[in-house]
Each structure stands twice: as structure tokens, then as C-alpha cells.
Symmetry: C6
Subunit: 232 residues, 6 copies
Amino acid sequence: MSESERRIIAYHEGGHALVAYHLPEADTVNRVTILPRGQSLGVTQFTAEEDRYNYSRQSLMARIAVGLGGRAAEELTFGADHVTTGAENDLQVVTDIARNMVTRWGMSEQVGVVFADYRADGGGAGLNMQRIDNPAQSRTLIADESGNLSLNGQFIPARQHAFAMLAPGANKPSSVSMASTIDLEVQRILNEGYAIARTLLQDHRDQLIKLANSLMEQEQLDRKQFQALLQE
Amino acid sequence: MSESERRIIAYHEGGHALVAYHLPEADTVNRVTILPRGQSLGVTQFTAEEDRYNYSRQSLMARIAVGLGGRAAEELTFGADHVTTGAENDLQVVTDIARNMVTRWGMSEQVGVVFADYRADGGGAGLNMQRIDNPAQSRTLIADESGNLSLNGQFIPARQHAFAMLAPGANKPSSVSMASTIDLEVQRILNEGYAIARTLLQDHRDQLIKLANSLMEQEQLDRKQFQALLQE
Amino acid sequence: MSESERRIIAYHEGGHALVAYHLPEADTVNRVTILPRGQSLGVTQFTAEEDRYNYSRQSLMARIAVGLGGRAAEELTFGADHVTTGAENDLQVVTDIARNMVTRWGMSEQVGVVFADYRADGGGAGLNMQRIDNPAQSRTLIADESGNLSLNGQFIPARQHAFAMLAPGANKPSSVSMASTIDLEVQRILNEGYAIARTLLQDHRDQLIKLANSLMEQEQLDRKQFQALLQE
Amino acid sequence: MSESERRIIAYHEGGHALVAYHLPEADTVNRVTILPRGQSLGVTQFTAEEDRYNYSRQSLMARIAVGLGGRAAEELTFGADHVTTGAENDLQVVTDIARNMVTRWGMSEQVGVVFADYRADGGGAGLNMQRIDNPAQSRTLIADESGNLSLNGQFIPARQHAFAMLAPGANKPSSVSMASTIDLEVQRILNEGYAIARTLLQDHRDQLIKLANSLMEQEQLDRKQFQALLQE
Amino acid sequence: MSESERRIIAYHEGGHALVAYHLPEADTVNRVTILPRGQSLGVTQFTAEEDRYNYSRQSLMARIAVGLGGRAAEELTFGADHVTTGAENDLQVVTDIARNMVTRWGMSEQVGVVFADYRADGGGAGLNMQRIDNPAQSRTLIADESGNLSLNGQFIPARQHAFAMLAPGANKPSSVSMASTIDLEVQRILNEGYAIARTLLQDHRDQLIKLANSLMEQEQLDRKQFQALLQE
Amino acid sequence: MSESERRIIAYHEGGHALVAYHLPEADTVNRVTILPRGQSLGVTQFTAEEDRYNYSRQSLMARIAVGLGGRAAEELTFGADHVTTGAENDLQVVTDIARNMVTRWGMSEQVGVVFADYRADGGGAGLNMQRIDNPAQSRTLIADESGNLSLNGQFIPARQHAFAMLAPGANKPSSVSMASTIDLEVQRILNEGYAIARTLLQDHRDQLIKLANSLMEQEQLDRKQFQALLQE
């Protein structure tokens, strides 16, 4: 790999790590490396301070900003004409998060508390609060799409229910206008996240340069080295 | 699980339960818990006073408000930037109910008494009044999509019919403009339900705090404990 | 089942029956019951005075009004906030009829004499006049989609043809604007049918109450009992 | 079958036959019957004076007018509220013809000489002029979708070609606006055909009544009887 | 076949041939016939002066004009009301060419140098310049959709590439507005081609009549007979 | 092959090569040939100075300009009416690149840092930076679509994560308006690339003629011959 490519990767990974370093809601940087390994040209790895079950809007915005920190560092350092294809996976990840915020987590005011996820497959259930109570008795209680209950295949009147379902059923197609509103909200959230990343990196340009140079020299920084470097 | 995550779950479940407590049309809270169990991080369980066969518009609105009570409690307590992904399943359930109100149950004035459910699969038949009369004779009477009758595979003139069908057939695609109207009605109903939940919780903020604190201490409240706590 | 649910069902079934009683074009009520049976919570059964092969626009409008009579009775008696999910199947049936009127039977002036049924499957052929003449000779005469004829698999010049086809082929997708016009016409027809039902029930409110009360007491009325009750 | 249903069918079939009788471009009526047979309630059968290979715009318009003659006779005789579902197959046939005129035969000025048939399956090849020259040599000459030629599976430079293809390949989806233009043109053509039928029947109302009465008495008229009746 | 049908076919085939005769960019007419053969009612066959690998915009416009020459001759001779279904295949062929000009060959200014072919199957590769260099070594070099290279299944850095791909991958759906622009451009090109054909035939009406008459008498003209007739 | 076709191919390949020669960001021309080989009528082959892992916006624009150099040379030399179908594959390749720039690489300001690739299949992962850290332990860590982690099939709280996913999951359909914006941006980028190519060739018309003539004489130029010719 040429020096110029290594330089780009160093700034890209440095961008991810530095944005995370300055965002209180972001996870802690555990390791940054530009050592190629398999299909990977560089990695920034994170550790949360504690187990995570649910994510707040703020922590998701932080994750988006961190995800766009690589591209933002490239643009800031090399100019808009020299940003690279290296951000493809980052864009995929942050677009996924932003779309989920809008369509599954009710975090866009324009769309509101609508579950509007119209992807082909229903998606994973997420690691969120799932409030299903498996009845202790060995009876099969099935809550169907309409919220109706049947027990061991028998229709039963809906006398008792827990307020939630494990797998509430197929996604629905939304209207053209709803899809449009969703896409605009996703764009808005990503632009907001990019602005956060860009501003942070601009404010700490010296640190970015120091971090990238250090990565080009040492190829890898663990959590302690990373923090020591920035606290010098 | 961290204390801060437990706190969020306690307020979330407390929100469901408290909205139900104050809405006459809602089912009775049977148990509230923040004990994790399987994939479940918390449960609010309900019991209806009697068997239910059909649901009125009002009781469905109550169910939506209860379902959004968790998110409303989060927003009220921690602020809009700290609402969590924990409402995902709630949103799925209430969106299902609202969409059914609009497309299957004729409960939106804008859409009217049209059956406009255009989901890929026809959905369950619901637990509603089904007025089919299985003829006592062992003849197979089939009412086809066009309302035509055939008996034992033979075409028969339509001399006698019961006014309904068991499975009236495939869903039809609706127009782009109808889909748009439907989505707007679904949004409107959900916003209305959210406003009900938010107002109730704001009016009973002291009870919400007491309930959440009690859940964090005791982890679970049964129906009696729950009612005693709020009637103190 | 609670008394309040039985009451709703009695008014709902009574609504179907009473609208039919007052519409000359409607079929004759043969039996009304609120005895649950299988998945059925209530049945209103009809008998035509004679075999039916084709249906006039007027008799279809009557069928729609009868089908919406249940919901109209609920709304009139209990108020708009208390209409129930019990009308789901009714809505499905009347929407089917209205859509067929518009897309298959040329009964909407806006759409005109266009066959515009764009449902996924072609639907049954209906019990209408089918003017195909199976040639007595054991030759296979196939009329293809373009109106071309082939005999025993051989292409033949189109010298003789009967004016119709048995199965004129696949449905075509219609344009977005046509789909929109169709949906609006379906809505218009259903609103018209609902208004007919509502007006009739309002004009005969005493009969509706008497009928519902009688159903709650006796659970079932046959044709004679039904007519006697209303002619008292 | 009731007399009133037979009367409707007699007027319906009479309408088809009478429109054909008065349109020079229409095929000759060979037989009219209201004898039910299989699924058929009535038949109007035609014979062309000679073999037909291609159809002119005028003869297709005649066919549409004849096809809508049944419905027009119903409307004229019984009023718009009493038109029946019996025209379903007629509508399917004439809509097919009109759509082909617009999308396959270049007969709509708005759409022009575009092949715009975007149905799921390509449809039959039609009985039109097909100008393919099967080369006498036993070589397989394949003209692909792009007009390129390959011989016995070998790519060959396009030195010789006949101006046409047997099966020019898959249909293409057209744009939303094209689909809209097509639907409007189809509607326009059908309305034009309906107006022709209605005017002809209005101008010959006496003949229509005489024809329907004769059909109700005799159930069937062959070519001679039919022509004799109208020439009385 | 009736004389009147033969007459139509003679003018139709004559139209193809005469337009080709007067367009310098068109291929040479090799044979014209109205002898039915198999499903073919008439053929106009062409020979290029030399092998063809690529086609210029001008030669494609000529091919469209020739293809529409049959319909243009019908309209000119018999009037717009008497044009026949016989042009169906011609329309399919010329629409294919026009669509390819717009969506695959960058020959519409409105659409520009975009590859915008969004048909279900990718279509053949065409007989155009394909600039792939199969490396002499027996290594499998695969250029994937993103322009990335892998060698014998191994990911390799993109050090060497030929500027093109053999099968650049799946077609992409285009937007509604792009599809609309494409359809309008296709219409525009076909109208232009039709105008060319119509003008040429109008200017050489005598030749068209002579050619059609000769075809009706002799049924077939080879290249020499055809040219001799027109050079008389 | 005729001389006139060889001439077109010589100018077409010369156009590719000359644009690359004058664009500093383009790869180096390794060979130009108009020797037909297999389905190939001409090849321009490139070598990068070093291994490439990521591509900058500028180098992608150069690749587009080079790809459109063939068509630009045809238009410049023979006129807009004589451009050929030979550019089909070039258009496919450059449209792919432009679409990826807009939908996968965040290189269009209008669309922004959104991953908006809505093609049917997800496409290859690209040769970009992929920052996945395969944990050394033989545990299977799966990052699902929502960014949730599971370890050996067990749900685990998200304590540690690397900021990226290997295969972030299915593509999502975008809205109609987003698709429209994307298509316009793709057109804009391609028009920009075409303008670059056209300007360069116009400025170096003498070289283009010299190069084409040399190709017609010698049929093939290797890197040295190519560079010598232009540096004369």
C-alpha cells in the first residue's frame, strides 16, 4: 500500500476515534489501527462503559457523528474533491441507524410515533425492552396481527393480555408521501450528524494531525496509548 | 444492568400502567415488573373485566394511549433527546391498531366505511362478529369473491345467502392517493393517542415518580400493590 | 358474553335486517340470530324471491346499504365513539361489491364502461351472461387475448366468432390516476350506501329498538317472527 | 329463470345484434339466442363475410360498439339504475380491444406509433402480418432483442436481415405518465364506442323492442330469421 | 385471402421497401413479397452492403422510418380510419430501437450519456465494440459491479484494468421522472421517424402505387426486379 | 470489417486513450488496439502506477471522463448524427460509477452522506476500507441489521463493538422523490464528465487524428509507442 493511501486511512480512522473522544455520549475508543487484516484496511474499536440494552436519541446521534467522522476527516484534510470511496460502509451503517430512528423508534418529529418501517424483511427485533410474558403454563398463547389471542389453536376471548407482542407481524407498505417524508428526515439526521463530526474535528485539528501521524508511525494504538496521546 | 437503564425501564413501564389506570376504557393493570426475563426487560400485564369479542373505537384509542404511555413517560421525565429505542415494539403494536381502525374497521371519517387494507397477506379474520351460517346439510356452499355462490362445485343461482363471508378474498391494492390519506389518518390517530397519554402523565406526575421509584425498589407490583400505591 | 356485548350484536344484526326490510330491492330476511355458533356471533340470513342470475345497479346498492346497516345501527344507537370492530367483515363485503361495480360492471359514470379490474388474480368469472358458444364439433376453438382464434392448435383466419370470450385473459395494471379515480368512486358509492342505511334506521328507530330487544330476549327470529314483529 | 331476467337477457342480446346489423363494418349476425347452455345465458354469434387477417381501425370500433350494444340496450330500456352485471364479459372484451388499439396497434393519436404494451406477459403474437423469412437453409438465425443476429449460436455481422422479428422480446414497463395517457385514451375510445351503440339503438328503438319480444317468444333466431324480422 | 386484404398487404410491404429505397442510410431491399408463408403474410427483406458492427444514429433513424413505412403507406392510401392491426410487429421493432437509442446508446439529448435501461432482464450485450481483454494467462479475472477486480477468487488491488466490463451487471430501476422523460423521448423519435416515412411516400406516391400493383400481380419482387421497376 | 468501421473504432479507442493521457488523475494507458478479438472490437487497457484500495472523487471523475472519451471522439469527428451504438458498454460502466458516487459513496452534495443504493441485489462490498475486527477467540459475533450483537447465537448486551459491519444488510427502497434526485445527480455527473472529455479532445484534436491514423495503420500501440507518438 502506498504512503498516500496509508495517510488517507490514518486520517479516516483518526476521524472516527477523535469524534468519539469528544462526544460524551459516544462509546469509549478501545483500539485504533491501520494494520490491514483480511478485507479490513483499518479498524476503530469501541467499548461501552457498561452493558447497553436501550439507546437514547442522543447516543444514537453520537454514533452517527462517530460513523461520519472518517469522511469528515478526509474532507477537512484533503478537500471535497479528494474524499474517497472508503466511507461506503460507514454510510451504510449510519443510514441504517438514522432510518431506524425515523421508522422504528419514533425519533423524528415529522414522522412521529408511527412504526413506518416498510423494508422487505421485518428486520431483527432489536435489543430493546420486550415486554412479553411467557405464561408459566405450557399453553401456547398466540397474539395475532390484529391483537387477537388464541390459546392452543383455540379462539379465546381477549380477557387477559400483556401489552406487547414479540413479533407484531409483517411490515406494511407506506404511501409515497410517507416514504418521501422518511427519506427527508433520514437526510436531515445524517446532515446533522455530519455537521457535529465536522465541527468537532475542525475545533481539534491539531489532535487529528497528531493522531494520524501517530497511526502512520505506530500502525496501532490501544486505549491507553490513544488517551495518553490526546492528553499530552 | 445499570441503575440508569433500570430507571428508564421503570418509568417506561410505569407510564404504560399509569395511563391505563386513569383511562376508564382501558383494561385493568394486573402486574407491572422490571424483572428481566428471557428477552423481556419489563412487562405491564392487563386483565379485562370480562371476555371481549368486539372493541369500540374508544377502547382502541385507550389501548393506543396506554401503548404510547411508555414513550410519553420517558420524554416527560428525561427530555426529548433522551427517549430510547425501548419503544420500538410499542410503536409497532399501536401502529397496527391505528392502521386497522382506518383500513379495516371504518373508524376514520376521512377514509370512511371502506375496507382498504392493502397489506401483502390478508391478515387474520379478527375476533369480530362473523355472521356465517354453516348450512346443516353436508353440502359445500362456497361464496366466491364476487359474491356468487356455488354448491358442491356446481354453479347455483343465488337464491339464498347469508349476509357475509368468512374469508372475502384477497386484498386489493389501493391507489397512491388512498394510501396517502390512510397514512395521514394513522399518524393523526397516533398523535391523538400520544397527546392523551402525555396529558394524563403530566397531570399525575407525582404518581408516575412514586410508581417508578416503587418499581426500582420492589421490581414487581401485582394488581393489589399497584392499586394500593396509587390510592395512598 | 356480557350483556353489553350482546346488546351491541343485537343492534348490529337488527340494523342489517331492518334496512333489508325497508328496501324493496333487497332480498327477504329469512332469519336473524345472535346465537354464537363457531366463529359466528350473529347471523342475518336472506332468501331471494327467485333465482338470480344478474344483478341490477339498484339491487347492488341495496345490498351495500343492508351490509352497512349493522354499523349504521351501532353509530345511531351508541354514538360514533362506540362503533365497534364488529363491522370488519361487512366492510370487506360491501367494498368488494362497490369495487366490482366500478371496475368490472361499468356502473360508475366517472370510470365508464371500462373493465378496470387490476387485482392480482383475475377473479371469478361471475354469474353473469356468458355468451360463449361451444361448437358442437369436437374441435378446440381457442380465442386468445387479442381476439384471435385458433382451432385444434392451428391458426385459422377469423371467419366466425361469437361475441365474447370465456376467460379474456390477465388483468392489466391501470395507471396511477385511474386507480385514484376508482378508489374515489368506491368511496362515493359506499358513502351513498351508508347514508341510505342511516336514514332508513333513523326513520324507523322505534322498530330498531323493538327488534334489538326482541333479539336479546329470544336470541333468534325466523322469517315469520321477524315480519310479525315489525308489522305489529 | 324469471320472466324479468329473460327480458333483460333478450334486450341485452338484441342490443348486440341490432348494433351489428346497422354498422357496415361489423360482422354479420349468424345467430341470436337466449337459451341458457352451460354457463352461457345468451349468445350472439357472428360470421365474417370472408377470412380476416388484419383488422382496420374502423372495424375494431364497430366491434367495440357491438360489444357495448348489450349494456346500451339495457340502459336505454330499463334506465341507468337497472343496468346489470351481465355486461361484465363484454366490458372485458372491448377494453382488451381498445387497449390493444392504443398500445399495440398505434391507433391513438395521443400515444402515436409507440408499442406501449406493458402487460406482464407479452401476449399472443396476433394474427397480423408477420414478415419473417425462415431461411431455407437449415441454419438457425436468431434475431435478439437489440436487433442483432446470431447464426447457429455464432455471432455474425448483421449483413442481411428481414425487417421484423417473430417475438421481439419482453415488454417494457412504461412511465407513470404514459400509463395515464394510455388509460385516458382507452376510456375515450370506449366512450366513443358506447355513444355509437346508444345512438344506433335509440334511432332503431322499434326494432330493438321487436327483436327482444321475438327472442322471448322463440328463444333463438338464426341468420335468416333475424334478417327477415328486421326487414319486415 | 380477399383482394382487399392482399391490397393492404401490398401497400404495407411496398411502403417498407420504398422508404428504404429513398433513404441513403437504409439497407438495400433484397426481396419484397406478399406470398403468405407460415405465419407470415408478407416480407420485405434487406441486405447490407457490407458487414455491420456498429450502427450510427442516422442509420437507426433510417431503420425506424423503414419500419414505419408500412403503416405510413396504409394511412396515406386508405385513410386514418382504415389503418390496420398489421403494423403491430413493426411498432414493436421500432419502439425497441428507439428505446435503445434513448436508454442504452446515449442518443437522446434530453437523457444524455446515461445508461438508463431499466428492463427486467438486462438484454443482450449488443454487437457493439466490447473492449475486454481476456488475459492470456489462465487466470480468472472478474470485474465486479463496482469496478473492483478479483483474480482466481482472490481480492486483488486494482493495479491493472481494461476500460470496460463484459457484463456490467444488473439493471437499475430509474426514477419515475426519468422513466417519463425516456417515454417522451421514445415518442419523439418515433414521431420523427414516422414523419420521415410519410413525407417520402407522399413525395413518391406514383412509385408506391406502381410498386403495390406490381406486388399484387407478381406476388414477389427480387432485388433486380424491384430496382428495375422503380428506375423505369 | 470496412474501412469506415475501422475508422470509427480507431477514433473511439483513441478518444479513451487521449483523455486518459491528459488527465493527471487517470490511470496510465498500457495498450490501445483495434484488433478484433473474440467479441471485442477494440481495447484500451490501463495500468495504475500503484495498487489501489480506495478511489477519490477526482479519480472517479477522471475514470468517467475517460469512459466517455470514446463517444466524445466520435461526436467531435463525425458529428452528432453519426455517433454509434459502440458506446453502449462505456455508458453502462460510467453510469455505474456515477450512480455509486451518488448512492454509496456520499459524493453528491444534493443527496449527501446517505447510503441510498436501492438496487435489487446489494452489490459487492467494494474494495474500500472495511473496519471489521474478527475477534481472535473462536466465538461467532454477529452484528445484525439494527447494530445489535449476538455471540454464538446468544443475545448479548452491546458492551463492545467495532464501528462497522461486514454486510450491513438488505438495501432499502427509497422514496420516489429521492430516486428522482439521485437520477438527476447521476445525469449531472455524467454530463460533467462528458464535458471534460469533449473539451480535452477539442484542445488536442491534432493528437486525436494522429492517434487514430496510427491505430488504423499499426492496429495496436503499446505504452511506449503510445507515449512516443504523443510526445513527438
